[in-house]
Symmetry: C2
Subunit: 436 residues, 2 copies
């Protein structure tokens, strides 16, 4: 049964459509897998196998009308889903029962997908870790803030899971956990019912086991007609190798792996060019810090004012204090600089279809006290552009490291078509479940 729980959405969907599998068979396989390994991985904040099985048995009786029909999914615990509480990773919201599905959850359910449970988030989707461990190395962080969602997919507990990204909260855990992670263009996926951290950046993203699955989920979430990715040819692709000003933050093995991937893609026929770091790129991290701080400190006013002692020091003394200190003038200056940088990025992308860059500096950090470094993610979040992490490499300890492809704003499907062919050319297979 665990093998069944490691299939891609596409594979599961075919078995359901052919009648080989019922939704309840699939759910039973996932429940068995969770029983087996959840005590090690700790991916779930709230999970009730009886509810999941009951929903699946109901699905057994209804017509199959979508590639997501009968497919279970996990939901980051800052996203509302009925039956379960939404605790936002903080004791402040313990027992906060949801009476409504977030739009993203409702849209997936409309497509026939079934909520398996609520996945662990860091405190208010910021840096203070939850209980989840990296399924590839239980002593290490899974990354954050979408920790449980990434770990659950990596461990074969669910074929896809929703996360959110405000800085690097989808791409980084995807890299650390060896799964595909996707952050769509800002604004494409509705955020109703998702805890607001930084309205200017917050984006619903998700984790899967292959690129095609990313697109299946995207179409349901944006409520587009289902249509598989079309095959591109490598010869059509213009790939920009983007080391960027943070290149020295990457471990040397990551640098080598990225450069080798660029060579491999060039040898396979893609047009690969080096993209120099533009001046406007240098300040993006600081603009991100200012906007994120200003908005976050205001968004969590209830928690900040009513329950300061239940918040972590990392949150209170970090982004929150940052944001309370910043003047409105400096906030607006950062917003205006970002608006200009988005236009500059569009210019830059006239010469290439995607940028190739690391997803993270290297393997997941040792220990559970921090969730790693989003240095390779925050610029793209601030620019609002789509980005995917492909589990392309192994680091020096044999643990996953992701390759990141960054696309044009609102050209998410093009990015995914490119990612699909690039992953094939790099011989990256379906993300396998961690051995546990």
């Amino acid at each position: 049964m665990p093998e069944l729980a490691s299939l891609t959405i596409q594979q599961m969907s075919q078995k359901i459509a052919s009648g080989e599998l019922k939704p309840s068979d699939l759910m039973e396989a996932h429940v068995a897998r969770i029983d087996e390994i959840e005590s090690c991985v700790r991916a779930w904040a709230h999970y009730d196998p009886n509810i999941a099985l009951m929903s699946a048995r109901l699905a057994d009786t209804r017509p199959i009308d979508h590639p997501l029909y009968g497919i279970p999914f996990g939901v980051k615990d800052i996203i509302d889903a009925v039956v379960y509480p939404t605790e936002h990773g903080t004791p402040i919201h313990q027992g906060n029962q949801s009476r409504r599905d977030a739009a993203c959850v409702a849209l997936l359910k409309e497509a026939g997908s079934i909520v398996l449970g609520k996945a662990v988030t860091t405190e208010l989707a910021h840096f203070h870790p939850g209980k989840t461990r990296n399924p590839h190395a239980l002593t290490r962080t899974p990354g954050g803030s979408s920790s449980g969602s990434a770990a659950a997919v990596a461990a074969g507990m669910v074929p896809f899971a929703l996360g959110t990204q405000t800085t690097g909260s989808v791409l980084r855990p995807a890299s650390y956990c060896g799964v595909y992670g996707f952050k769509p263009s800002f604004g494409d996926v509705n955020r109703s019912g998702v805890f607001e951290c930084v309205s200017s950046f917050d984006t619903v993203g998700w984790f899967t086991r292959c690129v095609d699955d990313v697109e299946i989920v995207r179409q349901a979430l944006v409520r587009l007609p289902s249509k598989p990715l079309e095959a591109k040819e490598l010869g059509q692709l213009r790939i920009g190798l983007f080391r960027g000003s943070n290149w020295e933050s990457a471990e040397s093995t990551t640098q080598k792996a990225i450069e080798q991937a660029a060579s491999t893609l060039a040898r396979s026929g893609a047009k690969v060019t080096d993209v120099a770091t533009p001046d406007w790129f240098l300040d993006l991290a600081e603009h991100h810090r200012r906007v994120a701080g200003f908005e976050f400190a205001r968004a969590i006013s209830f928690e900040r004012v009513e329950h300061p002692n239940l918040l972590s020091r990392k949150l209170v003394d970090g982004r929150c204090e940052d944001g309370l200190q910043l003047s409105y003038t400096d906030y607006i200056a950062a917003q205006e600089a970002l608006a200009r940088a988005r236009l500059e990025f569009a210019e830059l992308m006239q010469d290439c279809d995607v940028l190739l860059t690391p997803s993270a500096p290297g393997e997941a950090w040792e220990g559970q006290s921090a969730t790693g470094d989003p240095v390779f993610n925050k610029a793209w979040t601030a620019l609002h552009v789509p980005a995917i992490s492909i589990p392309a490499f192994k680091g020096p300890s044999g643990l996953p490291v992701g390759l990141q492809l960054v696309g044009r704003f609102r050209r998410d499907r093009e990015l995914l078509e490119t990612a699909s062919i690039a992953a094939a050319a790099l011989d990256v297979s379906t993300a396998a479940s961690a051995k546990l």
Copy 2:
């Protein structure tokens, strides 16, 4: 006591600071006013005088440190506030108890302001009306969707109240109810805990009895230092009379009143020019319709999928169906056109400080089956710019009609300083409570 309940925030604040009034005295006056007239006006969705009085008595014992200290306010019932439910104007969310204050509510409470109750909204802040009546003419609509908030301020039940605007839901009810209504620049006021309708447009706004009060509330909501508006001179002002392509929708008395106001301001020393309707303005209503439909139909997926029979036909067959029919390509085209129009608007505003235009076609509509016409509001909402409605005129039936001033993006304080001097020059006094 009713007189006390008709003061401006500034006046109440001075009495509290001097010790002439305690917060509980003020709250008692408001409770008395509500007792007297709520059965006619029906402004409140949830209101408990004991909770309000208890909060005020607690405030009596604490240090006064902000102009909003001890001042009661109303909260539109799509905005979370602890103790009360948030029912979003639909039976679907009956009894939906809030366990958290929305950021805007928490920020006002941080400043010392006290929640008086939850004000009636239309169904999901769309067009299907709630139970509220216009306090100036009980047979007429108060406007929507922030119906209860506008009516409560107009009737002297609370000195200010929060609403939201996605199309014209603050400016229109302000015009119909004869109070000041303000929609700030998009993004300035945090939306955490506010029901999401159309993320690209939704803006928290509010109703007051004078321009200075608008700024007091704005500073608390954006969490800026308190600083009174500075007096401008009319001679410094460049005012653009903007009839726009919807001018024919305005009643002739409204047209005359706006043109007379422009003349009066010019005679008083302001530089008033006619601003022709630019080409890009003509399509704004259609772009607004497309973006609003696309996002709304997705935001309310839970209600749409799980409870279609509890939604009004107006909502399901209108904006919702609109949004489900629209293609992603058309949605993005509208978004891109709006982004260009915002740059065009900034260009246009190099020659004037504010635009002068009607807030609404005329007086509030007769009857309770519709909430009036947002034709003079939606363009500014779509452009993300700040706008204020000043209760400057009376229509043919002696009912209020608003004058709208529109400012530059993120120059809200400048707009309010202009509005303050313009209101004085037009001899518009503090909005008086409706006679009831």
